[in-house]
Symmetry: C2
Subunit: 291 residues, 2 copies
């Protein structure tokens, strides 16, 4: 099996489904859908829905049955990027090599497009055709908690208040800002695939570990990669005076830490009675391609 | 029965419950809860949860069993005010006689506090102790739709894009921006109180009508009331060049239209086989006290 091709096909399926979930209209307020699509359909790895779909598939669920609910994860991730880029937040003019949403549209529309994607994520989960009422409520609960005031938003608060002064607080910031939504993605797959509580907890921890690893890699890329490749200004974290793993640990130590987290996560997968190879290969390729 | 006292007691109960739902913490990111509480507990009529609780009470449900879910409506309303006031949106420095959230806290915290309240509203509904799984899913669906891209957010898009150029488009803007969440409040009461579909639809229409009436009254107050009484700069709509009912219809015609909408709504209540007096008295007092 060509796993990379499989991942690509699923990513395309995610993009297609996201697009169908937010069709263009002739409504007078169509601008909000245009703006949401500008950011939501801007490419990217689709990592969160991809992890959810692969995890559900590992548990015997066809992507047809998990894709819509998984798109809710991408909507939450996208809204967080839109709001993160705003002038009152990180004030980033570029995202994935294109002008940020508030540069391509009026700033107010960018605020509202973020609000719309956030709200719509929950509507998509309520409307999910292939999950039963109990599954929907658990998905909604997991999404709200992982992206909420003790989840992703807590990480963003710590980030903009520059509370990450040492490794402990930086780790909490990254776990909240990135790890929790990736953990939620693994839980989405577990819930849709009706995993046991024990399996779901293991998959959640896998998500926290690789989420933290990916954030460290992001810190590394911020220093080592050019705008062309990464789609952002070089070393924007350093320019913004933000504490990062690289600034606290140095480049080599950061790489080693990301690798050890990834190895721990991959080891845990081996205890599951499923074909975990797709998850392993995806994780490997994401880590090794980039550092 | 002293209805005004009853409304006051319920408003206090709403405020207390909202406060308990967002306790202060010693977490490093406590600032987000401080900011959310600054806006959420800033007084106000608590109209949306009050309507939901009174409607449920009319259907035999004690406020103890409806208050938490009803607070989700106040959270959505409050987030929309926080984001509406942002510099990239209406750029209002005052709200309810106090500095706007982005004036009292850093702007980024205001963006995130809005996001937090939006997200948390759905978590509160998932956690509702007194509603069953089916009720929760319907509440979540109603809240997401009424506040989403074809609901409240559509109204805000039309508002900031100045698309309300005539009475038809102004009415759509107001119905979306204000009417739909008030209609959702009536539906919340109906769902919690297990009303029939027919009754729920009638209550929803009641909400749309009085929601539009209240928005027209808001337009009127913007012209006629001082900052002390209304808590905002005088005639900010006019200063901002916004089309309002007053600018399109004139003051007297606007008052008459608000009254006729209210009368239509109150007439419809008479067809319900319940004690609708509390809803009638609340509506009367809100309309008559202000215009």
């Amino acid at each position: 099996m060509d796993y990379q091709e499989h991942f690509k096909q699923i990513a395309k399926f995610i993009e297609k489904t996201c697009s169908e979930l937010i069709p263009l209209t002739d409504k007078p307020y169509n601008e909000i859908f245009l703006a949401a699509r500008y950011s939501l359909l801007a490419g990217g790895k689709r990592l969160r829905p991809l992890l959810a779909i692969l995890t559900a598939e590992m548990l015997g669920i066809h992507p047809d049955q998990s894709v819509a609910s998984s798109c809710a994860l991408e909507m939450i991730h996208t809204y967080s990027l839109i709001h993160d880029d705003l002038p009152g937040m990180d004030n980033d003019d570029f995202r994935r090599g294109k002008p940020s949403l508030h540069k391509a549209f009026p700033e107010g529309i960018a605020v509202l497009a973020g609000d719309y994607l956030l709200t719509y994520a929950f509507e998509v989960l309520v409307n999910a055709k292939h999950q039963n009422a109990d599954q929907k409520l658990v998905l909604i609960s997991v999404l709200a908690k992982s992206s909420g005031g003790d989840g992703m938003i807590a990480g963003q608060v710590m980030d903009i208040m520059a509370l990450s002064v040492d490794l402990t607080s930086l780790q909490q910031t990254h776990l909240n800002k990135t790890g929790m939504l990736i953990a939620a993605s693994m839980e989405f797959g577990a819930i849709i695939g009706k995993a046991t509580t024990e399996q779901r907890n293991l998959l959640r921890q896998f998500g926290l570990d690789i989420g933290l690893a990916f954030q460290i890699i992001d810190d590394i890329l911020d220093v080592t990669q050019s705008k062309e490749k990464h789609g952002r200004e070089v070393a924007s974290d350093l320019i913004n005076g933000k504490t990062t793993y690289v600034s606290l640990m140095g480049l080599e130590e950061s790489k080693n830490f990301a690798k050890s987290l990834t190895n721990k996560a991959l080891e845990s997968l081996k205890t599951l009675p499923f074909d975990t190879k797709p998850l392993k290969i995806l994780t490997d390729s994401l880590v090794n391609r980039q550092i």
